[in-house]
Symmetry: C2
Subunit: 425 residues, 2 copies
């Protein structure tokens, strides 16, 4: 029986969607690594009664550990320590050592700004040095300390109180896990394995049918916890199981590999971005983009080390730029239109030549919402991938979605075309 | 007293963070427009007992309406309709008309793919046509119908069942709101107003101090619900209030405008992106990017209509590209280094010249994680914004954060520099 956990994310800015929560997902991965089962994530605003209700819900659900993120800042709407102390049946006290540590962090930060009121800063620091008695206090990474707070009685989960900014939360996590309080609450858990498969170029219903076949044919299928989802136009299949169910996992992998050989591109958890990065190692790529407006170059340069193989890119949003920076013949644009397989091809040629690259991608399309015609509707995108030694792959799909989705999916299609061309498939 | 709502997001892929939830935030905005107060968002995996527990929690919290998203797909882990029917005390029945409507949507979709098993598709369609008796059924937008399900007894919230894909959920929402069942559950609500202020170039503690002053000096301050947060290096202050509290809001606005005149850039809800787009109207901009790898061009072309003023950009990741595509003197790079205010300036000049632009941005920096030195550490970024008629603004901040944050913040700083230069401030 593994330990169970719940996460409480606080902050009206998260509840109302002005800020996207990155902490729930990150903590979910960490819990999985520890073999702790995550049952619930709840999000509330800055109202203490709503946060208290959510902690109460997690207690009723019998979780062993509750993790809160956010609400530790210097402003008056940051009430987490107070709510958690009350929940755990503990009082708040002022921790002078922690106040000194916070002041040591806040001081240099404050000097970066002009005209900061020192009294405002001191008031914030005093507030942040209030922690529950009997809790393990975690040193601040930013300006806010965290805490691991066991229940004062025997009932209820131990609460891990972490700051909202993802960098601070992530840096503080190891210290939280290392406390005896954390260990006491979660000790004796079993470990899980997790495997991720990724497929590209088929609808989700196909994998659903394969899972129905697996339910019939794979021995021990019931021991596998499988979820499927569509993500950036790829189908992702994630399987979680206890070590004893490994044979069932291998049988499932064999079944999926057999039925979806042409669309299954990742069985080891690697993403298409990582695979393309590896294939580009030792090569030199140049990009020529129109409708994606730089997203393809930004995607390729997202990974550290990409300066080893990305020479650069041209965003040729205007026809003039296609001609002056990529050498696309204006007569060609006149004849077949800026959004055409021919122009995508000429853009890729231009990128090869102008950057002295050995690999290039040309993308031109109609991202919308305006600019579509019957022959070239919104979502029509022409992509050409080629190498200096003459290998070419061209596609002109009509992609679904709105402007943002069409731009993003165009880069996904281009990534998979790059993979295919560079693998020589 | 306004109606209260809760949102239940289902899906192991969301719980475990492989997919980010976009539905909670979107629904939060819609509820606000309707004057319905959102109290809780909860996220669970594909386990029916966890979803039932979360619905039970919302019932205990006395919400009038619970909205679920996800779990309506054709696969076996999609159990929402079943769980909601049981929660509402209603049985599932097969709806033949809905099955025909689903089949009409699924048919053409299926023909886009090769080798699709028609029996798999039919099984999925049959499953998706199971709906709770006594509920208002919402026609499918994708392949899944939704429902508005009142409780069979008098107790508990009405449940609005919506699909997981954001596009489908958003398209189905008006039909859900239009049902008599929705109206009966939420009728008689008060309306709220919401105002957003945005500031750039100061720490969050400054606004906290201003709010402490406001608490003392602004009459009716207690009637304002204020949240502050840091977002993409900007401070956002959102204030919600009932119409009667408008004078307090205006007093607060005056106080903030007075204390933060040099950093307050938006009082009408507009984003920096929208403001820059407006300022660029009638102009022609070219970009020259190194460490941001195309993100600045991608950000400027994210808004529809940007082809009217974005000519294009060069991502000059290699020094050769800086020289060949932007005309940066290699001797300059040799002398002062590729990451330097001088090279950022020369890149902007190159963008002006090569694109025939009247406005240009040059960005070069150390995004990390490698490549930092003592003089030019990770996060050091040089940005130059200039116009063809000779106005120039240059900055070389050291930005905090990891590679992704440094790249993103660089574009935010550049956006604010563009705004300042084009406003002539």
């Amino acid at each position: 029986m593994s330990a169970r956990a719940g996460i409480v994310v606080t902050g009206t800015e998260v509840l109302t969607g002005r800020v996207r929560d990155a902490n729930g997902p990150w903590l979910a991965d960490r819990l999985l690594e520890l073999g702790i089962e995550l049952a619930h994530i709840t999000i509330c605003g800055d109202r203490p009664e709503d946060m208290a209700a959510q902690l109460g819900f997690l207690r009723e659900q019998g979780v062993d550990i509750a993790i809160t993120s956010g609400g530790l800042g210097p402003t008056a709407d940051d009430l987490t320590m107070e709510v958690v102390a009350r929940f755990a049946g503990r009082s708040l006290h002022h921790d002078a050592e922690i106040e000194r540590k916070i002041a040591a962090v806040v001081g240099p930060l404050t000097r970066r700004w002009r005209n900061v009121d020192p009294e405002a800063v001191a008031a914030g620091t005093r507030k942040q040095a209030q922690v529950p008695e009997g809790a393990a206090v975690l040193d601040p990474v930013g300006t806010a300390p965290g805490a691991v707070v066991p229940p004062a009685g025997s009932d209820g989960p131990t609460v891990v109180v972490l700051p909202g900014p993802p960098r601070e939360l992530q840096a503080m996590w190891p210290a939280a896990v290392a406390t005896p309080e954390f260990h006491a609450a979660t000790g004796g858990h079993t470990s899980y394995r997790q495997q991720t498969l990724r497929l590209f170029g088929m609808p989700e219903s196909e994998i659903a049918e394969t899972l129905r076949v697996a339910e019939r044919d794979v021995r021990g299928f019931g021991e596998l916890e499988i979820t499927t989802c569509l993500r950036r136009a790829e189908v992702e299949v994630v399987t979680r199981y206890e070590p004893a169910a490994a044979p069932a996992w291998h049988a499932l992998l064999q079944l999926i590999s057999g039925r979806h050989a042409d669309t299954l591109f990742s069985t080891d958890g690697t993403t298409i971005d990582e695979q393309v990065a590896k294939l580009l190692d030792g090569r030199r790529i140049g990009l020529a983009e129109s409708c994606t407006g730089g997203l393809m170059a930004a995607r390729l340069t997202e990974l550290p080390g990409s300066s080893g193989y990305v020479l650069g890119g041209v965003v040729s949003y205007s026809n003039d730029a296609k001609t002056s920076l990529l050498g696309v013949d204006p007569a060609l644009i006149e004849r077949v239109g800026a959004v055409s397989p021919e122009v995508a091809d000429a853009m890729a040629d231009g990128a090869l030549a102008r950057f002295g690259a050995d690999t290039a991608v040309g993308i031109t399309g109609v991202a919308g919402p305006g600019g579509g015609t019957e022959a070239k509707p919104v979502g029509y995108v022409c992509i050409c991938v080629k190498t200096a030694d003459g290998r070419v792959l061209a596609r002109d799909p009509r992609l679904p979605g709105d402007r943002t989705e069409i731009r993003d999916r165009s880069t996904t299609v281009a990534m998979h075309m790059l993979r295919r061309l560079l693998l020589g498939g």
